[in-house]
Symmetry: C2
Subunit: 112 residues, 2 copies
Amino acid sequence: MDVSPSSDFNECGSASAKALAAKLAALSHPARIEILKHLSGNRACCCKDVVQQLDLAQSTVSQHLKVLVEAGLVRFSAERQRSLYEIDREALAGISASVAGLVDTCCSSRPA
Amino acid sequence: MDVSPSSDFNECGSASAKALAAKLAALSHPARIEILKHLSGNRACCCKDVVQQLDLAQSTVSQHLKVLVEAGLVRFSAERQRSLYEIDREALAGISASVAGLVDTCCSSRPA
DNA sequence: ATCGTCTATCGTCGATAGACGATGGACGTT
DNA sequence: AACGTCCATCGTCTATCGACGATAGACGAT
């Protein structure tokens, strides 16, 4: 689901605000940012891989991954016994565009 | 506070991750996004103005504004009895750049 | 001086986030 | 079959968020 970069920011759009806020919330945790950076460097990572990188409990990492998946920033695929997580670059780019759109709106609707 | 688009995302960089996460956290609430959009349409707004727009209690709006100010996204200046809040477009642009940098890093460090 | 307005802060409350350990299921290996 | 590995989920705990009403301070107006 794409948040169009510069269309529906015009109206009040509590809906779009909520959608963007939800995605930003998923990004607004240092561990999840680190996870994304780690995922970006590898084709697909299993949970344990991320755990070894982050110095957090496995259950904690699993939850962070779940948050990222539910926000649509990371794709999930179950392999045999492993779970593979892969970064969704398009979704990430969509967020970047949404933020840029918001900033754009805020800068262009300058009053004077 | 620039997060260089492609330098310190290589190392673990928990510091930059925390800084970005903090700013995104300020953005990750629908009411605060709405406040930003409202502020962008006016030169400077007082608290009551935002209250009338948002259908939230005055104390709640005041707290949201405080969050935005502390995150550096909104500038604060005390007038006589009013408090004037003005959007900080540069800071907002900085966040946009940071997010773009993160996404860029995630897309460029593509493995294969 | 008194009243009304605007605002920040305090105190409270419920809900949620974030962390962990423990557990159990699925699967590969021996 | 028995064990080890990987993982998601559950339960728990603490801390924080988000909302509100109430309050008090600052100021203008009367």
